[in-house]
Amino acid sequence: MSAPVSETATQALQEDTPVEKPPRGTPWWANQRIGLLLLVVLLGALFGVLRPAFFNQQLVIFPLLRDIAMFTVVGLAQLCVLSIGHMNLAVGRMAAFSMMITGISYDLWHFTLYSGLLVGLVAGTAIGALAGWVIARTGVNSFVVTLALDFLLLGMIPLVYTSLTDNAAFVTKPPGMRELRNYSLADVCVGNVCGSPAVPQLAIFAIVAMVVVGWIYSRTRLGRELLMTGSPVRAAELSGIPTARRVITAHAMSGCLAALAGFMLAVSTGSIKATIGEEFMLPSFLGPILGGTLLAGGFVSIWGTLIGTALTSVIRKGLDLLGVGLESLNIYLGLILLLALSTDRVRTVLSERQEVRRQ
């Protein structure tokens, strides 16, 4: 490594300017993710005390973890585009599209469970890449492009289903699908040691996704460049990052993860149908954003996404168990969300105040 800067210049530059300190690190209690985790634990404990059934492994914890796993993947799908400051309003529809391809592969081509999954992932990646390509080429806001794509797919998918199937769903179930839905880690043994029966096997998909996405964002060039692409894009372009390609990559990753989430949903409910992913849009934002991922791009938190997703799922489950009716369920859900986010804000403000007072 050659050093083109000589001693004199270095000295000239180093003349005793004071070190610029960043604002002091926020105290641990102001950390968004720790606060959230605490909230999840507290709520879990509260629900457990009110309804001991909350700790029922088979009927509560197992499906709860399965849900958290799936919505975490949904959240990661959104996180990938949030990392470059974009949005993907078509996450759900991308899942539906890729599952449609997977369904065709099972129904018409008799693929095995995992080769069908692979086909779906490829389809998801492709449709995501298409969205990314349009955005990169035209420079149109991602919100608009994915919204339009959502409309397009919303129109197209039912046409395909009604023309290819009798029941508007692909009902062929390749071997292994039922097992994947019901088996837990108790069925995975290394020697005599088996996993917990409360943890569904499907969670492995989420863990793999988290590890891969986490690795990409923390360890690789791609991840770093994605984060730079979002903040701001002109600077990234001028630093030699191929921003157009990164935009396409981010959207392709999003599509791929959406496809995975769609697969997890199809496995856990039973069949592949046109409405897969309809419920994905809002959770896809909630998880990452509650977890601290910035809408403006440049910062992502994989753990945060998991915790944020867990928070909403736990609330919903707890309210379910408390027998809260439909009319009140949404009200409480919304209020708790607002509260969770506001306390976050209060914490930040308090820690800033403390900081100022200390000086």
């Binding site: 059934a53 019901n182 309809e278 379910d320």
Partner: protein
């Protein structure tokens, strides 16, 4: 509304006392009736659940509609109820193609499960039984009623809900069948689907239809709730001589029948489903009886209501409910 609560009460006395199969001990049965989501159709279930509890002396009976028309959420609701000790489930599956998986899971855990108001798509039913309107038959009846109302000749149009739902496909088939039987005297415009999401969508679709094709159309058959309400209203305000046949007996539609805005409606038997379903599930869960052929499908009946029988159709329906009990008894093997 006035039509739901009355029927089961009569049945209750007769069912519990005079029927050959009387539930011996319902004290360990906790019954849950779970619709697909909030919908007027299921409202009778709510009252009947309470009736079930009293009549069959069940440990508990509940009605939970928090699934919000989402199979994943419905599964969650079911699991939560199971965790709280509910052990007999009458379920309207949100997704006909998925619900068998849910049934299988519940069966595997030793619960009694009945598919109510809708049967799983395909040929198999993993629940203990299915007690539902034969949707294809109901749609067929509705189409027949429409054809009759327009005098057996002319063009009709079918308005319905979510296209990518197997029940919708069955309804479309039912209407087509009725039209095919007219040998070309009655023709059908392309089916208008996906307008049950909300009232304004349905209303707009109806208005557009009437504006563009109003003069050709002689009858409208609707097999979903919002389109039915919208069609009745739209035709009335357009003053076109179009006959509307609706679905279900929501107060608004009954009012339409009485005022003449709606030519007929095809009502189903939600109260009967909930009552007989509850009885059957209690028998099964208390291990008093088992199904001879698990997964048997029984039609809970559908009834054409016109101005002529609008005040009396409920009797017919009660009779049908009464008849359902012996019908099922034949399917049971009891201790």
């Amino acid at each position: 509304d006035s039509t739901s609560g009355a029927a089961p009460k009569d049945d209750a006395s007769s069912g519990a006392s005079s029927g050959p199969v009387t539930l011996k001990d319902g004290s360990k049965v906790k019954l849950a009736l779970i619709p697909g989501g909030a919908h007027p159709y299921f409202q009778p279930w709510k009252t009947v659940a309470a009736v079930d509890k009293v009549d069959f002396r069940l440990a508990d009976a509940t009605f939970n509609e928090t699934g919000e028309w989402d199979q994943g959420k419905q599964n969650n609701v079911i699991n939560s109820l199971a965790a709280q000790g509910y052990n007999a489930f009458g379920i309207f599956g949100v997704s006909p193609t998925d619900i068998n998986s849910t049934f299988e899971d519940l069966k595997a855990k030793g619960f009694a499960v009945g598919s109510l108001a809708s049967c799983p798509a395909g040929d198999t039913n993993a629940a203990d039984f299915c007690l539902s309107t034969d949707v294809e038959a109901a749609a067929y009846k509705a189409a027949k009623a429409t054809i009759e109302a327009i005098g057996g000749e002319g063009t009709i149009v079918h308005l319905t809900g979510n296209n990518v739902d197997s029940n919708t496909q069955r309804r479309i088939a039912g209407v087509k069948k009725a039209i095919a039987e007219t040998n070309g005297k009655v023709t059908e415009l392309p089916v208008i689907t996906d307008i049950d999401k909300d009232l304004s969508t349905a209303q707009k679709a109806v208005a557009d239809l009437l504006a563009s094709k109003g003069k050709e159309i002689k009858g409208i058959v609707t097999t979903a709730y919002n389109p039915a309400v919208a069609a009745a209203d739209g035709v009335a305000s357009s003053k076109l001589p179009i006959k509307v046949v609706a679905i279900d007996d929501d107060a608004k539609i009954l009012a339409g029948i009485k005022s003449g805005g709606v030519a007929a409606t095809v009502t189903q038997n939600p109260a009967g489903q909930a009552y007989i379903g509850g009885w059957l599930l209690a028998l099964l869960q208390s291990k008093q009886c088992t199904m001879k052929t698990p997964g048997v499908i029984v039609d809970s009946g559908s009834f054409v209501v016109t101005k002529a029988n609008v005040d009396t159709y409920d009797e017919e329906r009660k009779a049908k409910t009464k008849a359902l009990q012996p019908e099922f008894e034949k399917q049971l093997s009891c201790q």
